[in-house]
Amino acid sequence: MHLEAQKLSGGYGKTRVVQEIHLTLEPGKWLSLIGANGSGKSTVLKLLSRILLPQRGAVLLNGRDIHRQPAQAIAQTLALLPQQQAIPPGLTVQQLVSLGRTPYQGWWQWELAAEDRQQVEQALTQTQLQDFRDRPVEALSGGERQRAFLALALAQDPKILLLDEPTTYLDLCHQLELLELLKRLNQQQGLTIITVLHDINLAARYSDRLALLKEGCLYATGTPTKVLTPQTLADVFRIDATVLQTPVGLQIFPLAPIYHHSRDGPAVR
């Protein structure tokens, strides 16, 4: 399963947010999109997941434009966990996760087939939600809720999983819990993962590769060690930072923001 962005440009209405993005996602790897606020990382994810139609360029899945393939077939390969979800009142965890089988059901099918139920069961097990199956989703805590929506995506039996800032509303413990779960799925089942992450330390620690965006353009791609240098951090995040190699991976210590003192001259450091 090969996902590729070719000269991808897109945005909202006529506004262009991202420009000429080239990205190749290696199967079985974890890629994180990082960048400052407004750099276009969520927009790239929305373009990759068919939520936005590209203004120019294309997203290719196995060499074919994703907007020229049947939506159901794409949804069997590519699953999405959006940043915000609506929660219908009274919907139980099991009902929610069962909706993950939608891409496999014909319009005439009323109930899930045996194989579908098995996939739902597996998704519930992977996310350790077996005991929560009859609870209403609205009654779950933030961490459990995020796991329930992850289970929905896993029930799609995807090869590629796209997650838009999955840790944003979680406390530190639940952030790590979710990322560890994703890491297991990535390593044990070869699930390809693409995340938008705000926390560069977590992104550096969990991702195989980083794609660093600046003002809608791809600034750098590569391993965390290659991408996260004091120089790029200054250019992209406008921070003075120290980068340390630690046993759990790269650690970035932000020291001070960099202010622009001159209107048209270069940034003063």
Partner: protein
């Protein structure tokens, strides 16, 4: 999602209630029939007058009540699901205004009176298409735009309709008012055979849309991720809902409250799974309208059924809103 026992109970309750009401409605009227007389007449035996009463008067009227009620119930449930708003009813997208304008125009001008049902149907469909065009943007159909478009069109057409009513004479106002309140009086086999097939097909189509509603309720982005196109699904849901409402309106005029209250009641019974809410709203709508029609026929003077549904529906709605054990309006 295996059938929960609660859902199963609700299905049984609704079907039994419907059957019982239909039987009572067949027995009651200006000439009451006993169960045995009803059975005899049903088998084309006994008093020919009773057979005529059953086959030419009561049965077609009850069938009409079933058709119109089912159409209104499912249409309301579809629109409440589509617009994610418990205050939506079959007429929210300007259907009443469009149908009303056409019907009132013909009734007050006194022309083409036989074409009132067709004109109402055309008015309803054209208006809802207009509202859909207003709701469209480059990124698909936006719910707020749909609702506001419906309100704008409704008030525009409403103004024209009021002007027409003010300019017409008393007799025409009487028949126009009757139509606006909604009535089943004098409807028969002709309406059953013309509108019945459309409504049946639309009800079947609507029953298949439950999963799309469930998925869309998770938000547009997740729906796209699951391979469901929000725009295409909304168009289909809106088209079926409009077809159902337009058919109901063309037969019986503007019967209010059935499409608004029935889906709430059904959600109280079976929860928010629209695979069940949609077909059960049709059944419950059929039940409620048959019951209301029975009540409207029992009085000394026959009331228009629309007045009965409003009289029954308004207190029920207030109870659902403020007094219900678990209000179905909570965050719908």
């Amino acid at each position: 999602m295996i059938i929960h026992s609660r859902t199963f109970q609700a299905v049984i309750l609704l079907i039994l209630g419907l059957l019982l009401t239909v039987i009572v409605a067949l027995m009651q009227g200006s000439v009451p029939l006993s169960l045995t007389e009803l059975w005899q007449a049903f088998r084309h035996q006994g008093d020919p007058i009773r057979q005529t009463i059953l086959y030419d008067l009561r049965l077609p009227r009850i069938l009409i009540a079933l058709i119109v009620g089912a159409a209104l119930g499912m249409s309301g449930a579809l629109l409440q699901g589509l617009l994610r708003n418990g205050l939506a009813d079959p007429f929210v997208l300007g259907i009443s205004a469009g149908a009303g304008l056409m019907a009132i125009a013909l009734l007050t001008l006194g022309i083409f009176l036989a074409w009132v049902p067709v004109a109402a149907w055309v008015g309803a469909m054209v208006t809802s298409m207009l509202v859909y065009l207003l709701g469209r943007t480059a990124n698909g159909i936006v719910i707020e735009r749909l609702v506001l478009g419906g309100i704008a069109i409704s008030s525009l057409f409403g103004a024209v309709q009021t002007t027409l009513l003010l300019l017409s004479n008393d007799g025409q106002i009487q028949s126009a008012l009757n139509w606006l309140i909604g009535s089943l009086n004098g409807r028969g086999w002709a309406e059953v055979t013309t509108a019945g097939p459309y409504v049946a097909v639309a009800l079947l189509l609507g029953s298949l849309l439950g999963r799309s509603v469930n998925v869309l309720n998770l938000g547009d982005e997740l729906a796209i991720g699951l391979g469901v196109s929000p725009t295409r699904s909304r168009l289909l849901m809106g088209a079926v809902a409009s077809l159902l409402a337009a058919s109901a309106v063309s037969i019986a005029g503007l019967i209010g409250f059935v499409g608004l209250v029935v889906p709430h009641g059904v959600r109280l019974l079976v929860g928010n799974d629209y695979r069940w809410v949609l077909p059960l709203s049709a059944i419950a709508g059929a039940w409620v309208l048959t019951f209301a029609d029975l009540l409207s026929r029992l009085g000394v003077v026959e009331l228009p059924v629309g007045a009965v549904t409003a009289l029954l529906g308004s207190p029920l709605f207030i109870w659902l809103l403020y007094g219900g054990r678990t209000s179905s309006l909570k965050g719908v």
